[in-house]
């Protein structure tokens, strides 16, 4: 390498440092701009009534997101119900039972591959497998099963990270005292990994809540006249409602979509914040 004068090299150093800083500034600046812009757009439509009223075709001033909120709660709740036991069990198997076998590598590759499948493809799968194949129709249960497939890899990977962080001495102590493998996992490893498992749950919940494309493909009902009432109910979710209003031309609808986004981001943020606080409380240092 031919060396230039120190002054040139230092100048280069500063220029690039500036460029790197600019990269961060662009990312965070656009985030701030973005949130401010949406808030400004939402302001005229941001009334508490939208939380309790129903979407409408005709009148944007009376339309609301009550069915969308209830629908999202149903979907996320049921998705967690399916995906958490399944994903945590899979993570435990991969970390505690089958670490270096060829089978484990195959399963691990399956998990990684699943995490990379575009979400809209899960929609196609759900449409054929659950809506048509099992003949469930476009209902909450079909949506939740589809979302379960989608969040499963994230739950597995986060669970594995949590379990990996548990020190081996804990297991060894338990095994040395005569506990079986499963007793060790259940009484020592899982409690010790609990904060990480909480992270897995939150990650699954926020992903399930934010997904739009698969629910559209399955067939969400855009203008619901009633609240989703159970697993066999037709459904709508917050992001799908936002998408539907975004497609309408008048400004009032756009404000309404922005207001729904503000509510949506508020829910997501508070869930995440609550989880971070809770995790801080539960966390132990080894």
């Amino acid at each position: 390498m031919r060396l230039r004068s120190l002054r040139v090299r230092h100048a280069k150093e500063r220029i690039f440092q500036g460029a790197f800083l600019a990269g961060i500034a662009v990312a965070l600046g656009s985030l701030a701009f973005f949130l401010a812009d949406i808030l400004a757009e939402a302001w005229p439509a941001l009334r508490p009534e939208i939380l309790v009223s129903f979407p409408s075709f005709q009148d944007p001033t009376r339309a609301g997101i009550a069915p969308a909120i209830v629908g999202s709660l149903w979907l996320v709740g049921m998705t967690l119900l399916f995906s958490l036991p399944l994903g945590v069990a899979a993570g435990i198997y991969l970390e505690e039972y089958a670490r270096r076998s060829r089978l484990a590598r195959l399963l691990q590759a399956g998990v990684a591959n699943l995490a990379g499948v575009p979400s809209v493809v899960f929609g196609l799968l759900g449409l054929m497998l659950f809506v048509r194949g099992l003949d469930l129709g476009p209902v909450v249960l079909a949506g939740a099963l589809t979302l379960t497939m989608l969040v499963f890899p994230y739950v597995v990977i986060t669970t594995q990270e949590a379990i990996r962080a548990v020190p081996a001495s804990l297991r060894d102590g338990s095994l040395a005292l005569g506990a079986t493998h499963w007793q060790t996992v259940r009484r020592q490893v899982i409690p010790a990994a609990a904060p990480g498992l909480l992270t897995a749950a939150i990650l699954a919940a926020s992903r399930a809540m934010g997904e739009t494309a698969p629910l559209i493909v399955i067939g969400a009902v855009v203008f619901m006249k009633f609240l989703p009432y159970g697993p066999d109910s037709p459904f709508i979710a917050l992001p799908v409602q936002i998408y539907a209003w975004t497609g309408l031309p008048q400004d009032e609808w756009r404000s309404l979509a922005a207001a729904a986004i503000v509510v949506f981001l508020g829910i997501l943020l508070s869930v995440n914040l609550g989880a971070i606080l809770l995790r801080g409380k539960l966390q132990r240092r080894w």
Binding site: L21, I24, N113, P118, L124, M128, R171, T180, T212
Partner: protein
């Protein structure tokens, strides 16, 4: 990492050891049952992958009975309703245009952010910037799509005479969207390089930038490339932004200011209506989905192979 490599009791196939001891029987059966249940949960990953591949392949083969595979993959016109033309090339070029453009925006910024966070940022700045990037990553994509038509589209219309729906909307917004992905994965790759390499370069008189660009980034290169590929694959699969902001007019163009239609947008926009099962248009959703699936699968496999290489070298 170090903990998993030291041979400890828990890594020594304890179940087999225990099962050779009394009280055997019921205990052993219980343990085996639990192991089986856990295995069943883990094999869900394989089940889901096979189900996706199977369903897509089955419907795609059905589609190829009506439209030949040759016409599908080489046809330059996608006009399923009026002319019955199913040439996927315009959808693929639109997808690659959007993904390529957003990669040009997101990758340099993401990498710059990663280098800054790893090398220059004081701890206090890191403590603010990292969670902020996580927030950026956690915003649902439908919100990004809304932002694209609310803010970006009017600007592009005024300055560049763009259509209301256009590819550039999606390029800019997806570019911003993949910054956190690139930066967190690249930072992982940079962190995997032993700090001695960097210190050695500094000790030999390199400036911090020279140590970073000449040594650390070079050492972490395949990991960084892996993060680029993953970001590109994410951009290819991104659906809501393009469905909202890039349009629904499939045309073969590389002009980013025109209305286009990507593969994902086609699936999202067309599957909302109640298409009759078995119709050619319905099956074409799956043929497009299968093409998309194969593209992302190949990219992800390449990325994880590169990622594994970094880990092997410096583990």
């Amino acid at each position: 990492m170090a903990a998993t490599q030291t041979p400890t009791l828990s890594r020594m196939r304890v179940p087999r050891l225990l099962s050779s001891l009394p009280p055997g029987g019921a205990w052993r059966r219980g343990e085996a049952l639990i192991r089986l249940a856990l295995f069943a949960a883990a094999s869900f990953a394989i089940f889901a992958t096979v189900a996706i591949g199977g369903v897509l392949l089955f419907e795609t083969l059905g589609f190829f009975q009506h439209v030949s595979a040759w016409n599908f993959f080489t046809g330059l016109s996608w006009s399923p309703d009026i002319e019955g033309l199913f040439g996927v090339v315009p959808l693929v070029t639109a997808t690659l245009l959007v993904a390529g453009g957003s990669a040009l925006i997101g990758i340099p910024i993401g990498l710059a952010a990663a280098v800054y966070l790893r090398e220059y940022a004081p701890a206090k700045v890191r403590a603010i910037v990292k969670p902020a990037l996580e927030v950026l990553a956690g915003i649902p994509t439908v919100v990004y799509g809304f932002f694209a038509i609310l803010t970006i589209s009017p600007i592009l219309q005024r300055w560049f005479g763009a259509d209301f729906f256009n590819g550039m909307n999606a390029i800019i917004v997806i570019g911003i969207m993949i910054i956190p992905l690139v930066s967190s994965l690249s930072e992982d790759a940079l962190t995997a390089v032993p700090v001695e390499l960097r210190d050695g370069a500094l000790a030999l008189g390199a400036t911090r930038f020279e140590a970073m660009s000449g040594v650390v980034v070079r050492a972490a290169f395949s990991g960084i490339v892996a993060s680029f590929i993953l970001a590109f694959s994410r951009a290819i699969g991104e659906t809501m932004v393009v469905a909202i902001a890039a349009g629904a007019t499939p045309q073969l163009t590389l002009d980013p200011f025109r209305s286009i239609e990507t593969m994902t947008a086609f699936i999202a926009i067309r599957s909302t209506g109640d298409l009759p099962v078995g119709s050619v248009l319905f099956q074409s959703l799956f043929a497009v989905g299968f093409t998309l699936f194969l593209m992302t699968l190949a990219l992800n496999a390449l990325s994880s192979r590169l990622m594994a290489r970094v880990r092997e070298v410096y583990a």
